[in-house]
């Protein structure tokens, strides 16, 4: 008898401790469910004369440069609208999606949110998860071309506004290249040749870096190469897989050729060097030993920042987009870098819209924010920025301009789906570790990507 009790107690303990995991988000619930109740009444009264104080929450992810700029913009906004308090919630990209998903499921998401391209389909499949921005007169939509806004629609409802468009470009640590007397690469072959020269200088020296992690640069580069070679889109406009098994294999082989020429570290070396830490936070990059990165123009600031802030500083420069000889298309990608949306459940749609408009269109805010979220797609923000900042030397500007002018492919919203990324990661890792031939890895990836796309578009 005693043992039965003991077993069931042990079982309870086991259950209790993993139920505890989910509890994290729950305690917040009471606090925020009170807030809307209290404020609904206040916003109803306040619309006329004296404004009752209102608090809105705004959420974003990013690096330090973006945090600092956004916090300053919030301060300026609060000076302008003294009855609105803006509570910032921010952090790195890691785990941010999970956090926001949890908050959405629990009904505690912030009022104004920076959202990623693929979130719109996930969080608002019917278009009702976010506020219909066309119904918010506070936001001056005439600042955007419809071609830019189209990224923000879900089910025909304007859910989000793209802050900027972006694409990954190649950036190099010029100081390291100069030290070694190596030219900045212009083609894939240059890059491979640079690999050999870097190896000669030290076995932990690499001209470039590609990881398999959440941003999947490794597959990104391989995919671009294959698009150039075949002229086919990896994911077609009607959301089907455009590559055959052989073409995926060829792309993986290309990735391996970069590893073998020592242009990039192997996945194993990357892991040993710093586990899964983001590249710009790791010693090999900061020290300049790994002297290149394939990064979004909108996020390159944090990479430049760690290099310019060290002593003596290193210089990060934009390299050419490599295109193979006889390319059938340019192959490089463009996507909306980030979008801003307003939670459909917000208690303060008016104030949230005011804040959003300030952040995206106001000349003052545009100057404060600079290019911390890429080159603004809003016309008024762009004008203000051009008038006050020297953009000619701004990496985010140069990178975005490069992508916009290269006749890029548009990234499918499904390309960045988490399960898809897992499929790329598995494929790249298995060829890198040699645990599967590129043929087998390609077959596995082909099967899983086909399945995932079928499920997503069903």
């Amino acid at each position: 008898m005693k043992k039965i009790i003991a077993i069931s107690l042990a079982a309870m303990l086991a259950l209790g401790s993993f139920a505890g995991c989910g509890g994290n988000a729950a305690p917040e619930a009471p606090a925020s469910s009170q807030a809307p109740a209290a404020s609904e009444s206040s916003s109803a009264e306040s619309s006329e004369a004296v404004q009752e104080p209102v608090t809105i929450r705004v959420q974003w992810w990013g690096g330090d440069d973006r945090h600092e700029a956004t916090l300053k913009a919030i301060e300026a906004f609060q000076k302008k609208y003294d009855y609105i308090t803006v509570e910032p919630e921010y952090g790195g990209w890691d785990g941010h999606t999970e956090k926001v998903n949890t908050q959405f499921a629990g009904g505690t998401a912030a009022d104004v949110l920076q959202v990623n391209y693929d979130w719109i389909a996930n969080l608002s499949p019917d278009g009702k998860g976010f506020l219909d921005l066309k119904s918010a007169p506070e936001i001056d939509l005439s600042n955007w071309d419809e071609s830019v806004l189209k990224f923000g629609y879900s089910n025909g409802i304007l859910n989000a506004i793209p802050v900027s468009v972006t694409g990954r470009s190649l950036y190099y640590n010029k100081s390291t290249f100069d030290r070694l007397g190596v030219e900045i690469p212009n083609t894939w072959d240059d890059l491979k040749a640079a690999g050999a020269k870097f190896q000669a200088a030290g076995e932990n020296m690499y001209p470039f870096d590609l990881d398999t992690g959440s941003g999947f640069p490794a597959w990104y580069a391989a995919c671009v190469y294959e698009q150039q070679k075949t002229g086919k889109q990896f994911i077609t406009d009607d959301n089907k897989l455009g590559f055959t098994v052989d073409e995926i294999k060829d792309a993986l082989d290309f990735y391996m050729s970069l590893e073998q020429s020592k242009a990039i570290r192997t996945q194993q070396t990357r892991m040993n060097d710093a586990g899964e830490t983001a590249l710009y936070q790791t010693d090999p990059f900061i020290s300049g030993n790994v002297a290149g990165v394939l990064e979004w123009g909108s996020s390159i600031g944090k990479f430049a920042k760690v290099l310019t802030e060290k002593d003596p500083p290193d210089e990060l420069v934009l390299g050419d987009l490599p295109v193979i000889d006889g390319a059938k298309m340019n192959g490089w990608f463009m996507k909306p870098s980030l979008l801003f949306a307003i939670n459909a459940k917000t208690a303060h749609p008016k104030e949230s819209a005011l804040f959003l408009n300030y952040l995206l269109n106001d000349p003052e805010a545009s100057v404060i924010l600079g290019t911390s979220r890429g080159i603004p797609s809003s016309k008024s923000a762009m004008e203000a920025l051009k008038a006050s900042v020297d953009l000619e030397n701004d990496l985010a500007f140069l990178g975005t301009e490069q992508i916009m002018n290269c006749n890029p492919c548009i990234v499918s919203p499904y390309m960045e789906n988490a399960e898809m990324k897992e499929a790329y990661k598995t494929a790249v890792e298995s060829v890198s570790y040699g645990s599967a031939t590129s043929q087998d890895a390609a077959q596995t990836m082909f099967d899983s990507v086909t399945d995932i796309l079928a499920e997503l578009t069903a």
């Binding site: 259950l15 993993f18 509890g23 729950a26 949890t102 996930n122 710093a274 586990g275």
Partner: protein
């Protein structure tokens, strides 16, 4: 609030009448006790019982966190057995448990034996050795671990000083798993304290008798200490088993389950399915499988315990000791 009112009549009916008068004279009512445990009760119902029931229901549904759950019967459970990632995670989880639990028990017993000696300043050491456990599942420790084991990290530098080659700790599956195991073994404090308490309460006369009979220290350890300590070892074993199956923080923070899913423990798979792939129903089903696995292992541990656990009072004192 509501559960307090539901429970009231139940309690009121049984002891109420007889002792009621005496209690009210003391200014107490039979409901007082209930009132005192209400905070815990609410916590239990809202944060433990409700999630358990909900996850059981969700495990039979397709639920993407946004739209309403859709009932799909046993599909999630069927799918699991065809899912190679689930099988990989399960294998890795068992590997982890097999390494972590015995290593941690052995190491904490070893340290407890040392700290049980009569040395100068022993209290200082007892505190010092407990510190890693206070840091517990601290994120900073996971970050520290990354630095210690990276290519130019402390461990490799020490290895190089000793003339040994560097080890690529995170790059291969097995060493990566071992770094996670080592992190948890390093946090041996709480098991060690329980061992230490048990060691201190062992009867000294048995050892004296053994010494008189010429028994070596080594033999004493295996013939006296281990058998007398067996209820404590058993308790620690069960606790560590349950904890090990639920390990999440360390592998998630240090390796993200990599390389090649070599540290992809089941709880990470569950987490990623919920919050990354929006497959709450599937994740709920997997967490129930994990729960059943833990149940089975715990039950086996209890079943097997009668062959090697000796209670000095025929098991009567087991409950006390374990508490």
């Amino acid at each position: 609030m509501s559960q307090a009112t539901v429970a009231k009549p139940v309690l009121g009916t049984q002891p109420g009448k007889k002792s009621g008068k005496r209690r009210s004279r003391l200014g107490e009512s039979p409901y007082h006790g209930l009132l005192y445990i209400t905070p815990w009760l609410i916590g239990f119902l809202v944060f433990t019982l409700y999630p358990i029931v909900a996850s059981f229901y969700l495990s039979f549904t397709k639920y993407d966190l946004v739209s309403a759950p859709k009932f799909i019967g046993l599909d999630n459970y069927v799918r699991m057995f065809k899912d190679p990632v689930f099988r990989k995670a399960l294998t890795v989880t068992f590997q982890y448990v097999i390494w972590e639990v015995p290593l941690k028990l052995a190491f904490s017993l070893f340290v407890a034996m040392i700290l049980n000696m009569k040395l100068r300043g022993i209290n200082f050491f007892r505190t010092a050795y407990y510190i890693p456990s206070i840091l517990g599942s601290n994120v900073a420790i996971a970050v520290l671990w990354k630095f210690i084991f990276q290519t130019n990290g402390l461990v490799n530098q020490v290895l190089n000083l000793l003339g040994m080659p560097s080890v690529g700790w995170f790059g291969e599956q097995f060493p990566a798993l071992i770094t996670i195991v080592l992190l948890r073994v390093w946090e041996f404090g709480s098991t060690m304290v329980i061992f230490l308490a048990a060691l201190k309460s062992l009867p000294q006369d048995v050892y004296e008798a053994a010494s008189v009979d010429g028994c070596t220290k080594f033999r004493q350890f295996f013939r006296i200490t281990i058998p007398l300590l067996s209820p404590t070892i058993f308790f620690n074993f069960v606790m560590q088993l349950i904890h090990a199956f639920q390990e999440f923080n360390a592998p998630y923070l240090i390796t993200k389950g990599g390389p090649q899913k070599g540290t992809y423990l089941l709880p990470i798979l569950i987490y990623e399915n919920t919050f990354k792939y929006y497959k709450m129903g599937y994740a709920a089903a997997m967490s129930w499988i994990l729960f059943i696995i833990i149940m089975i292992f715990t039950a086996f541990a209890f079943k097997g315990s009668k062959y090697w656990v000796f209670y000095s009072d025929d098991g009567k004192g087991a409950g006390e000791k374990d508490a």
